[in-house]
Symmetry: C2
Protein backbone atom coordinates (compact mmCIF):
# COMPACT_ATOMS: atom_id res chain seq x y z
CA UNK A 1 0.00 0.00 0.00
CA UNK A 2 1.45 3.37 -0.93
CA UNK A 3 1.72 6.09 1.66
CA UNK A 4 -0.92 8.14 -0.12
CA UNK A 5 -3.58 5.48 0.44
CA UNK A 6 -3.27 5.59 4.22
CA UNK A 7 -5.92 7.63 5.99
CA UNK A 8 -4.21 10.38 7.93
CA UNK A 9 -5.70 12.78 10.44
CA UNK A 10 -4.60 16.10 9.02
CA UNK A 11 -4.51 18.84 11.65
CA UNK A 12 -4.75 21.56 8.97
CA UNK A 13 -7.85 20.00 7.48
CA UNK A 14 -9.36 19.68 10.95
CA UNK A 15 -8.61 23.31 11.70
CA UNK A 16 -10.26 24.46 8.47
CA UNK A 17 -13.72 23.10 9.15
CA UNK A 18 -13.65 19.29 8.84
CA UNK A 19 -13.75 18.99 12.62
CA UNK A 20 -14.41 15.74 14.47
CA UNK A 21 -17.12 17.52 16.49
CA UNK A 22 -16.71 16.24 20.04
CA UNK A 23 -20.28 17.22 20.93
CA UNK A 24 -22.12 16.40 17.70
CA UNK A 25 -21.09 12.80 16.94
CA UNK A 26 -19.13 10.04 18.70
CA UNK A 27 -15.38 10.39 18.12
CA UNK A 28 -13.60 7.42 16.63
CA UNK A 29 -10.47 6.01 18.29
CA UNK A 30 -8.01 7.85 16.05
CA UNK A 31 -9.68 11.21 16.50
CA UNK A 32 -9.86 10.68 20.26
CA UNK A 33 -6.15 9.77 20.46
CA UNK A 34 -5.08 12.93 18.63
CA UNK A 35 -7.31 15.23 20.68
CA UNK A 36 -6.48 13.58 24.00
CA UNK A 37 -2.82 14.40 23.48
CA UNK A 38 -3.62 18.10 23.13
CA UNK A 39 -5.98 18.18 26.12
CA UNK A 40 -3.40 16.29 28.19
CA UNK A 41 -0.88 19.01 27.40
CA UNK A 42 -3.40 21.54 28.77
CA UNK A 43 -4.10 19.42 31.85
CA UNK A 44 -1.39 20.94 34.00
CA UNK A 45 -1.52 24.28 35.85
CA UNK A 46 2.05 25.28 34.98
CA UNK A 47 1.50 24.58 31.28
CA UNK A 48 -1.79 26.48 31.30
CA UNK A 49 -0.10 29.49 32.88
CA UNK A 50 2.77 29.30 30.39
CA UNK A 51 0.32 29.11 27.48
CA UNK A 52 -1.69 32.07 28.76
CA UNK A 53 1.49 34.12 29.28
CA UNK A 54 2.59 33.37 25.72
CA UNK A 55 -0.85 33.89 24.16
CA UNK A 56 -1.58 37.17 25.89
CA UNK A 57 1.79 38.81 25.29
CA UNK A 58 1.61 41.97 23.20
CA UNK A 59 3.77 41.41 20.15
CA UNK A 60 2.90 37.73 20.16
CA UNK A 61 6.28 36.40 21.23
CA UNK A 62 7.90 35.68 24.59
CA UNK A 63 11.50 34.93 25.48
CA UNK A 64 11.90 31.92 27.76
CA UNK A 65 13.96 34.27 29.94
CA UNK A 66 10.75 36.24 30.65
CA UNK A 67 8.71 33.12 31.46
CA UNK A 68 10.96 31.38 33.98
CA UNK A 69 10.98 34.12 36.68
CA UNK A 70 7.18 33.79 37.10
CA UNK A 71 7.57 30.26 38.47
CA UNK A 72 9.30 28.69 41.43
CA UNK A 73 10.70 26.04 39.09
CA UNK A 74 14.03 25.39 37.41
CA UNK A 75 14.58 26.41 33.80
CA UNK A 76 14.90 22.75 32.66
CA UNK A 77 11.47 22.05 34.20
CA UNK A 78 9.94 25.06 32.45
CA UNK A 79 11.60 23.98 29.20
CA UNK A 80 10.11 20.50 29.57
CA UNK A 81 6.60 21.93 29.99
CA UNK A 82 7.15 24.17 26.96
CA UNK A 83 8.28 21.14 24.95
CA UNK A 84 5.00 19.33 25.75
CA UNK A 85 2.99 22.38 24.65
CA UNK A 86 5.05 22.53 21.44
CA UNK A 87 4.64 18.81 20.72
CA UNK A 88 0.87 19.23 21.13
CA UNK A 89 0.87 21.87 18.40
CA UNK A 90 -0.15 24.68 20.78
CA UNK A 91 2.99 26.81 20.52
CA UNK A 92 5.99 27.24 18.23
CA UNK A 93 9.54 28.12 19.21
CA UNK A 94 12.50 29.77 17.60
CA UNK A 95 16.05 30.03 18.91
CA UNK A 96 17.76 33.37 18.39
CA UNK A 97 21.18 33.73 19.95
CA UNK A 98 21.17 32.69 23.59
CA UNK A 99 17.41 32.46 24.05
CA UNK A 100 14.40 30.57 22.73
CA UNK A 101 11.28 32.59 21.85
CA UNK A 102 7.75 31.15 21.97
CA UNK A 103 4.51 32.12 20.23
CA UNK A 104 0.95 30.77 20.21
CA UNK A 105 -0.25 28.63 17.30
CA UNK A 106 -3.85 29.89 17.28
CA UNK A 107 -4.99 27.29 14.74
CA UNK A 108 -4.91 24.67 17.50
CA UNK A 109 -6.76 26.71 20.14
CA UNK A 110 -9.28 27.71 17.44
CA UNK A 111 -9.74 24.03 16.64
CA UNK A 112 -10.31 23.10 20.29
CA UNK A 113 -12.76 25.98 20.76
CA UNK A 114 -14.59 24.75 17.66
CA UNK A 115 -14.98 21.16 18.78
CA UNK A 116 -16.14 22.28 22.25
CA UNK A 117 -18.80 24.55 20.77
CA UNK A 118 -22.27 23.01 20.73
CA UNK A 119 -23.87 22.48 17.33
CA UNK A 120 -26.62 25.08 16.91
CA UNK A 121 -29.31 22.38 17.09
CA UNK A 122 -28.21 21.44 20.62
CA UNK A 123 -28.34 24.98 22.03
CA UNK A 124 -31.68 25.53 23.74
CA UNK A 125 -32.80 29.15 23.30
CA UNK A 126 -33.54 31.08 26.49
CA UNK A 127 -37.27 31.60 27.06
CA UNK A 128 -38.50 35.14 26.41
CA UNK A 129 -38.90 37.17 29.61
CA UNK B 1 -11.11 36.09 58.60
CA UNK B 2 -14.70 35.19 57.78
CA UNK B 3 -15.44 32.77 54.97
CA UNK B 4 -17.07 35.57 52.98
CA UNK B 5 -13.80 37.46 52.73
CA UNK B 6 -11.99 34.63 50.99
CA UNK B 7 -11.78 34.93 47.23
CA UNK B 8 -13.41 31.91 45.65
CA UNK B 9 -13.35 30.80 42.03
CA UNK B 10 -17.02 30.40 41.23
CA UNK B 11 -17.61 28.14 38.25
CA UNK B 12 -21.07 29.62 37.68
CA UNK B 13 -19.67 33.12 37.58
CA UNK B 14 -16.95 31.98 35.20
CA UNK B 15 -19.49 30.34 32.93
CA UNK B 16 -21.58 33.48 32.83
CA UNK B 17 -19.00 35.78 31.33
CA UNK B 18 -16.37 36.57 33.99
CA UNK B 19 -13.98 34.17 32.31
CA UNK B 20 -10.31 33.90 33.20
CA UNK B 21 -9.46 34.28 29.51
CA UNK B 22 -6.66 31.84 28.82
CA UNK B 23 -5.60 33.71 25.68
CA UNK B 24 -6.20 37.32 26.74
CA UNK B 25 -4.35 37.62 30.07
CA UNK B 26 -2.00 35.46 32.17
CA UNK B 27 -3.95 33.03 34.37
CA UNK B 28 -3.25 33.16 38.07
CA UNK B 29 -2.38 29.99 40.00
CA UNK B 30 -5.90 29.35 41.30
CA UNK B 31 -7.53 29.78 37.89
CA UNK B 32 -4.92 27.50 36.32
CA UNK B 33 -5.46 24.79 38.95
CA UNK B 34 -9.23 24.71 38.37
CA UNK B 35 -8.94 24.66 34.58
CA UNK B 36 -6.12 22.10 34.53
CA UNK B 37 -8.34 19.61 36.34
CA UNK B 38 -10.97 19.87 33.61
CA UNK B 39 -8.46 19.63 30.75
CA UNK B 40 -6.81 16.66 32.47
CA UNK B 41 -10.18 14.90 32.51
CA UNK B 42 -10.34 15.46 28.74
CA UNK B 43 -6.75 14.28 28.24
CA UNK B 44 -7.60 10.62 27.74
CA UNK B 45 -8.97 8.98 24.57
CA UNK B 46 -11.49 6.78 26.39
CA UNK B 47 -12.90 9.72 28.33
CA UNK B 48 -13.10 11.84 25.17
CA UNK B 49 -15.01 9.08 23.39
CA UNK B 50 -17.34 8.64 26.38
CA UNK B 51 -17.99 12.39 26.50
CA UNK B 52 -18.71 12.56 22.77
CA UNK B 53 -21.06 9.56 23.00
CA UNK B 54 -22.96 11.22 25.86
CA UNK B 55 -23.00 14.70 24.30
CA UNK B 56 -24.16 13.57 20.87
CA UNK B 57 -26.91 11.23 22.02
CA UNK B 58 -30.37 12.28 20.84
CA UNK B 59 -32.50 12.78 23.94
CA UNK B 60 -29.49 14.01 25.88
CA UNK B 61 -29.09 11.00 28.16
CA UNK B 62 -27.21 7.71 27.94
CA UNK B 63 -27.43 4.59 30.06
CA UNK B 64 -24.04 3.25 31.17
CA UNK B 65 -25.26 -0.07 29.75
CA UNK B 66 -25.16 1.53 26.27
CA UNK B 67 -21.67 2.97 26.75
CA UNK B 68 -19.75 -0.08 27.97
CA UNK B 69 -20.22 -2.30 24.86
CA UNK B 70 -18.37 0.27 22.69
CA UNK B 71 -15.13 -0.36 24.57
CA UNK B 72 -12.89 -3.33 25.16
CA UNK B 73 -12.78 -2.41 28.86
CA UNK B 74 -14.46 -3.65 32.03
CA UNK B 75 -17.48 -1.84 33.40
CA UNK B 76 -15.58 -0.74 36.56
CA UNK B 77 -12.93 0.86 34.31
CA UNK B 78 -15.60 2.67 32.29
CA UNK B 79 -17.27 3.77 35.53
CA UNK B 80 -13.96 5.15 36.80
CA UNK B 81 -13.52 7.23 33.63
CA UNK B 82 -17.11 8.49 33.94
CA UNK B 83 -16.43 9.45 37.55
CA UNK B 84 -13.47 11.61 36.49
CA UNK B 85 -15.62 13.35 33.85
CA UNK B 86 -18.30 13.93 36.49
CA UNK B 87 -15.82 15.29 39.05
CA UNK B 88 -14.57 17.72 36.42
CA UNK B 89 -18.07 19.11 36.00
CA UNK B 90 -18.40 17.86 32.41
CA UNK B 91 -21.26 15.38 32.93
CA UNK B 92 -23.97 14.61 35.49
CA UNK B 93 -25.31 11.22 36.46
CA UNK B 94 -28.54 9.85 37.88
CA UNK B 95 -29.23 6.33 39.12
CA UNK B 96 -32.61 4.91 38.16
CA UNK B 97 -33.20 1.30 39.11
CA UNK B 98 -30.32 -0.94 38.03
CA UNK B 99 -28.57 1.57 35.79
CA UNK B 100 -26.86 4.95 35.94
CA UNK B 101 -27.72 7.51 33.25
CA UNK B 102 -25.34 10.24 32.10
CA UNK B 103 -25.87 13.61 30.44
CA UNK B 104 -23.61 16.48 29.30
CA UNK B 105 -23.27 19.60 31.44
CA UNK B 106 -22.93 22.05 28.55
CA UNK B 107 -22.06 24.99 30.83
CA UNK B 108 -18.59 23.50 31.27
CA UNK B 109 -17.89 22.82 27.58
CA UNK B 110 -19.28 26.30 26.79
CA UNK B 111 -16.88 27.72 29.35
CA UNK B 112 -13.87 25.90 27.85
CA UNK B 113 -14.86 26.93 24.33
CA UNK B 114 -15.08 30.52 25.58
CA UNK B 115 -11.65 30.61 27.19
CA UNK B 116 -10.06 29.02 24.10
CA UNK B 117 -11.63 31.59 21.77
CA UNK B 118 -9.30 34.39 20.81
CA UNK B 119 -10.26 37.90 21.91
CA UNK B 120 -11.45 39.81 18.82
CA UNK B 121 -8.41 42.09 18.97
CA UNK B 122 -6.09 39.12 18.47
CA UNK B 123 -7.85 37.73 15.40
CA UNK B 124 -6.15 39.02 12.28
CA UNK B 125 -8.73 39.62 9.52
CA UNK B 126 -8.12 37.84 6.22
CA UNK B 127 -6.88 40.19 3.50
CA UNK B 128 -9.44 41.07 0.81
CA UNK B 129 -8.97 39.04 -2.40
Amino acid sequence: MSKQELPVIDQDTAAEGCRPGLLSAPLDEDQAAVLAKVFKALGDPVRLRLLSMIASRAGGEVCVCDLTPAFDLSQPTISHHLKLLREAGLIASERRGTWVYYRLLPEMTDRLAGILTRPAALVVPEPAA
